[in-house]
Amino acid sequence: MFDAVLNLNSWFLFFALYLVVGFILAKDVYGFVPKLMSSIGWPIEFTQKLFGTKSLPYLFLFPNILIFGLFTFLPLFMNFGFSVTDGTSINFENRAFSGLDNLARITQEIQIDTGGINVENAKFKSALYDTFVFVILQVPIMILIALFTAIVLNREVIGRGFWRAVFFYPVMLSPVVVAFLWTLILKRQGMLSQTLIDWNWISEPIQWLMDPNWTMFWSIFVYTWAHMGFYMLILLAGLQSIPRDLYEAAQMDGTSERRVFWRITLPLLMPILLVVTVLSLIKAVQAFEELYALQVGWISLVSYIVENAGIRGQKTFFGLGIAAMASLIVALILIVLSLLQFYLTRRQVKL
């Protein structure tokens, strides 16, 4: 049966049958080409006849909604389910309802199952705190550098296209490749330590990625290096959308460059700058791939979730629920940030 379906000749037969059905059902139109088109598109025309024109758009939306629902909405609701149940299974029949126990497991001083000290509480708090520090430092630094680079590359510099490509290039690299490159440089016996020792700047090699004094610095550095180009490109497009005549008018009035920047460029770029800020905030809260592959000395919120979910290593009885609960807390942060973006872009439209 399946052999016959897969057979090329039978495909041809099916298509012929399809056309014949189409020819019978087709609209009464004149001319060969319109008739052929009508015969090929008979399922659409037939559905339209059956359900009317008004409901047709929903039919077109249906496949997308189906996939979206299956892979986005369903996991979302399942995640809610996981966060209030316990067990290693992903089948809800084998998971017992536990209410807010998982919240207690990651926020209380006493572990509710063992009665001893709760290390999960400290881990989650430090993931939350470290991610907060990362976001607060990384986002402004990256926006400033991206803005500066965009302004420089918006000028008539030699090899402008080349420089733009250079700054955008890291965005196209896989996060794992980025991490691998920087590991070669930043590991204890890596290029950075070796070079600094050759220059007699340090006497002992430093484990840049794990050293508590350096891990956050290099996390921010590599993350900014990898993502800056994307935001630079958006800002560059924003800069180019500022009407030239404003600059010409300023020039005719003899306005200083500094004043042009503060009074024309920055105010007109502000809406895009706001969007870029919120987008990079959301991205930074979700920071994971590069940091995980680099094996930095702190755990980001998303690393914490991956670590507990039992995706890598062994599943634990409460792990999935804990991970789901932590992911809801991240979701809450992201919802606030997204609402902020929504609000800011709305205000921008009003302006």
């Binding site: 290390v119 999960e120 794990m210």
Partner: protein, 239 residues
């Protein structure tokens, strides 16, 4: 030493760590603590490499083979699967496999080929049992180990040694040393076999390096790290 409690457990057994009582994990006891102190001390002295355990983050496994291959360390504690790699890739120095050191608690090593098992839920228990019986006959077990370069779980063969075919003399001798270690561990540190078979052992493999590393880097005192290991393991195995 690779960054996992699977390796770390061996010397801890030798220092007298029991690891369990009637099938329930009790990780931190006097033996465990004694080895933890020694192990952290080795890092302070510089005997153990800073590129090893301290270079790994969280519960992640870290392979120490590159450190032995490039000569950073003089000894690598790992399993028999390394032999092929070392035999093929080490050309500029001589190396050999040595027996596991013994301590007051015995000669501890996590077993490699510790046994042949069948599923408890199998529909064909008799057939499975007869197949295991078939494989475990000395002659066949020896033939299998010899031709697949596996270390054998057969006690008699572990003692007698196996003549491995198709591998270099040094790999053959190494495999026999590994098999003998497994036999010695079975007698002197039976907790190694319990830990190997414990169904939640993977959680422990990660938790131990996570906190011991923190004690090495000075992020935590050793006492706090040991208390955290106990608390974390208890929480991870709780149901």
């Amino acid at each position: 030493m690779d960054r996992t409690a699977h390796r770390w457990a061996g010397p801890a057994f030798s220092y007298g760590a029991k690891f369990h009582e009637n099938g329930v994990p009790i990780l931190v006891d006097d033996g465990f603590k004694a080895f933890a102190e020694t192990f952290v001390g080795w890092h302070e002295e510089g005997l153990m490499p800073a590129e090893g355990w301290p270079a790994g983050g969280g519960t992640a496994y870290k392979n120490a083979a590159p450190l032995f291959l490039d000569g950073t360390v003089a000894m690598h504690m790992s399993g028999s699967w390394m032999l092929g790699n070392y035999d093929a890739n080490i050309t500029d120095f001589e190396w050999k496999v040595v027996p596991i050191p013994c301590g007051s608690g015995g000669c501890g090593a996590m077993p490699g080929g510790s046994g042949v098992v069948a599923f408890k839920s199998t529909k064909e228990p008799e057939v499975s049992a007869s197949f295991i019986d078939f494989l475990s006959q000395a002659g066949r077990a020896g033939y299998f180990a010899s031709n697949t370069s596996n270390i054998t779980a057969h006690q008699g063969l572990q003692k007698a040694g196996i003549d491995y075919s198709g591998v270099s003399q040094r790999v053959s001798a190494g495999l026999s040393t590994f098999a003998a270690n497994a036999g010695k561990a079975a007698e002197s540190t039976p907790q190694a076999y319990w830990f190997q078979g414990y169904n939640k052992n993977f959680a422990i493999y990660g938790i131990v390096p996570d906190y011991i590393t923190k004690a090495i880097t000075g992020e935590m005192s050793l006492d706090d790290a040991l208390a955290a290991i106990d608390a974390d393991v208890a929480a991870k195995i709780a149901e």
